[in-house]
Symmetry: C2
Subunit: 335 residues, 2 copies
Amino acid sequence: MSEKIRVVVDAMGGDEAPQVPVQGAVEAMQENANICITLVGKEDVIREELAKYQYDTERMNIVHAEEVIGFDEPPVMAVRKKKNSSIVVGMNLVKHGEADAFVSAGSTGAILVGGQFVIGRIKGVERAPLAPLIPTAKGPSLLIDCGANVDARSSHLLQFAQMGSIYMEHVVGIKNPKVAIVNIGAEEEKGNMLVKETYPLLKECKDINFVGSIEARDIPRGDADVIVCEAFVGNVILKLYEGLAGTLLKKVKEGLMSSLRSKIGALLIKPALKKTLKEFNTSDHGGAPLLGLKGLVVKTHGSSEPRDVKMGILQCVQFTEQKINEKIKENLTVE
Amino acid sequence: MSEKIRVVVDAMGGDEAPQVPVQGAVEAMQENANICITLVGKEDVIREELAKYQYDTERMNIVHAEEVIGFDEPPVMAVRKKKNSSIVVGMNLVKHGEADAFVSAGSTGAILVGGQFVIGRIKGVERAPLAPLIPTAKGPSLLIDCGANVDARSSHLLQFAQMGSIYMEHVVGIKNPKVAIVNIGAEEEKGNMLVKETYPLLKECKDINFVGSIEARDIPRGDADVIVCEAFVGNVILKLYEGLAGTLLKKVKEGLMSSLRSKIGALLIKPALKKTLKEFNTSDHGGAPLLGLKGLVVKTHGSSEPRDVKMGILQCVQFTEQKINEKIKENLTVE
């Protein structure tokens, strides 16, 4: 039997905690017998929730954490002051080698800060990027970086490209993933100062499959597997993706409800539309990894469903079994 | 009778020149008796095209320009070398006071470069931003800047906010338009260096209605009328808008064609869907103005239809009659 993968799950994280994280954790354990779960959060609340399920008690632990970091708390302050929060306690388990990974649907800011300051970066990694998968017409692409550390340097972006490439190849399973940098034109001489400095570094880098610039227009078409950008730009892309898809679909739905004729039509197209939109969805691939840390941190959406949490946990198994951090250590360009 | 508005139209610009610009120009003249048009480009080609229409010959001129700047030519070089191109000849007419405005569906890069170097900026304007209208759930919002001058400073962004505000109020007709800056969070302390420097300038500026930060997620909802950002970010937003809407609608259409049931449904919903998507469209408001120049330059989409060119020309009327440049000169913060 192969070694157990130990995943800490933030039982207090997300809009529907503890129900969603607890259910997701139980389902992940049921799906993979190699997973050991530690639920971190208020013990009495977790026990009450766990009582609803049947599960292998040998592989389930609870670690009590009295505090919870809210979505609207300033992250640096919250992580520093709330030493007994589920995020800080959970990350400390990873830091001290008592767990391999930490999964949370809690405050993105606190998770980013905690990842850097509690768990810490792998030696040589200059910044730990947050790298969500975004849906495209050809499947998911990794958007790296969407974190909170803006104003990156070119050496950071080179490392993002390398880490993203390793992740897409060994966790998502895309062979020789195409790496592109977000730019405002296809030509090498285009771009802002950061892109102009980064482009030659990516071009010279032997261990990635760099395909050049990608304009934002071509991202949804799936022209690249790893999309490298500075965090401010990555955040704009990620949020606009969510916002625009939401607004467009809302408009379409309003249109469909506008007459009897279109209402009947809507009933007929519903199954086909549902299938289509499901293809344009990435939750099957788990949450967004925070890469380059001494242990894996996975951020799932604040409005995650149990399935998302489960997929986030299974992603940790793949990450640990594939020894992604060893691969990052071996391949990273360190100045 | 009020004074005539003299608009130069690039007859060679866009994917379907000269048909589209010539037809658009004729239609604009028919709609507004105060417009005088100068078509610039290859005279024989223009004459042949004009022969198809009935129009007031008194208000229509042709100025010959032998050369055409292509979409793939490096803009600075093209504007410098092709002195006899339709873009450079047309802009020179504005520069020398022989016309009020220039409308083109040609190379964005060449139009931006020509605007700055041929026509020139209003005294005190540090940069001339390109400001397209983007569709939102509540109508169009002005996205300023989407041009080619990246790595802006905070003083540029302040001027963008002021010019954008004047434009939305007096050309588009939004009273006291809400101005927001693109950011990665709603709080004042969030953002990259540029945003942190710009935020207090916008907050202190008395002549704009600054409402704070806007996250990219909230742009499609129409939470702000004037969306201020640096050109790299603006370009990403604009292109992603196009790309994502295109990919999503293609996916939806594929879904609708996937079964007989959904095909019948598609027929029933078609009129309602068409109406909905038409609401989510900005071509009624003309093209994107390049603001802060001594004359107005309007860039319409490369794949413009005659209606887009017509609306771009009518926009010049509004711009000139409302004395937008005088308003900009009066209101701009100059360091």
